[in-house]
Symmetry: C2
Subunit: 315 residues, 2 copies
């Protein structure tokens, strides 16, 4: 017999800390619906602007829903987390560009910027000021993770051995995530819902929103994975991989610099060929463009490619 | 009126050098069928073994078919190269593991290894010694490029501003590659056919083979791309993106180290769950596993994921 639970987002935590008391204890086989707040903890609304980005103040951690204690989970086990269902709890999403954050250096970013997306039809993130751009929805939780064995409070920003802010866009409904367990009960939490994102999430935010996500938990005893793994239910990118892609490429000895350069070329392309502003272009890269390592062996130049699904252009 | 030409592989060149005389002059709008030798210049045959890998001697450059002079092409132009058709000119392909080459450090590679693939059915690269593994064919030219403006002879190994050994697996039939022109006539060459490859090509060889590839050339005057771009005709990975993927992930501050680690985890997985040897696993990663930059903004840890299409397991 398995049970289903709900966990509201009235109480959140904003660090990874194994001393945070679990809000719920469950057995392997149970399912939980998590209500999650967005990455900015309800700071933005559909009327927000670039001004609000500037006034936001320092990042204090993603609000996470949890922790959930999974009975019998022990260090060395792997927690299998199947994504059963996911929907939005808001009719809008947002993408923010902040100087000093994201892939491109501060000096290149003209100004702070906020993109509000219309999510009201459930199928697309529509760029409000441009009716020719709509990004197909492919929702996932940017953060799913277990508590670390390391004592103390740890930032939610970087992904870690036990998962966390992986921003792995392929963790859509039907996928199963395999997370290392480092503490008794695993202490799983989730949050940071994204309605759509490109591989890389180059401007540091995706289509950020609130969500309801239902997860099923199982245990693989003493599987001892060092880092997370996953299995998808079916093909990748089924909502966007339906037509042509346009891609830019950049070669050189540094994958990070190549990634920056490939995104710069894509911004050039979007501005010149599609008439987007610099910020609209950067934002569209973050929510729709996939960074691929095309080759990492042809010394001394590795090749990074940035792939844009042209289905985002609806006119 | 446009013309069609053929270029045999009796004559090849093994460096990029703008002093190499063109074998053919064409107009924009023309098509050319290039016959290409494999990356090892016909060194391997279906009876070759790891011994042959050890005895091969130093790499002396990919054998390329060309150059082709495109009339009116001038520095600053972009050469648009549409892939019209491609087939194999051999019924086998090979993947070699050589110590000191490829993504993983020499000390980790147990021994030289050669994988012969059966390509005789045209649709799959079949691992000869294991009838449970068949990689769907998605052929492309590892090398398409224009001569550099820089005088002298330059290695074919690294990709460069004018293309070359990009090993971009998405340049399959129907794609158009946009290559910067640096010298009069562009001086285009191609070679290094791959029947299948993963994004990354981690062991430094894919399913290497001979090919006949038909390309259509057009010019975009003074488009001034700094590096190659491309557009696909349709969805990506249409032969492999048809079912579930298994993925490993690795986080940390260095994308190269993360890529190595994600491939190590995938090798662990293939050995433990699928019973492959270390070398079979590494080779399968090179020809089928895609390296994705999942996030490059959640400082200080970037996430690289290695995605294996499970359709390669046919039993």
């Amino acid at each position: 017999m398995s049970n289903h639970y709900e966990l509201d987002s009235d109480v959140i935590h904003q660090t990874w800390d194994n001393a945070i008391a679990p809000r719920l204890s469950i057995d392997a086989g149970d399912t939980v619906t998590f209500h999650t707040r967005d990455a900015a903890n309800n700071y933005y609304d559909p009327d927000s602007s670039a001004e609000d980005v500037l006034n936001r103040g320092p990042f204090v951690g993603h609000p996470l829903t949890g922790p959930v204690y999974i009975r019998d989970a022990a260090p060395g086990d792997v927690l299998a987390v199947e994504v059963i269902a996911m929907d939005f709890a808001a009719s809008f999403g947002w993408t923010a560009v902040r100087k000093g954050r994201g892939l491109l250096p501060e000096a290149e970013v003209p100004d702070a910027y906020l993109q509000i997306w219309d999510l009201s039809d459930g199928s697309h993130a529509r760029m409000r000021q441009r009716d020719d751009i709509a990004v197909p929805v492919a929702a996932f939780a940017g953060i799913m993770g277990n508590a670390l064995a390391l004592p103390g409070a740890h930032s939610t920003m970087p992904p870690r051995e036990t998962g966390g802010n992986m921003d792995n866009k392929h963790l859509t409904v039907g996928s199963t995530l395999y997370l290392p367990v480092q503490v008794e009960g695993a202490l799983f939490s989730t949050g940071d819902a994204h309605a759509a994102q490109g591989d890389g999430e180059c401007c540091v935010t995706a289509v950020e929103t609130w969500s309801n996500i239902t997860l099923k938990f199982d245990l693989l005893p003493q599987k001892n994975f060092a880092e997370p793994r996953l299995r998808t239910h079916g093909p990748l990118c089924s909502s966007t991989n339906t037509g042509p892609y346009y891609a830019t490429t950049a070669q050189g000895p540094d994958l990070f610099a190549n990634s920056q350069q490939a995104i710069r070329y894509m911004i050039d392309h979007l501005m010149e060929e599609r008439g987007l502003s610099w910020q609209e272009s950067y934002v569209l890269c973050s929510v729709a463009v996939d960074l691929k390592i095309s080759e990492i062996v042809d010394a001394p130049n590795w090749l990074v490619s940035a792939f844009l699904p042209e289905i985002v252009f609806v006119k």
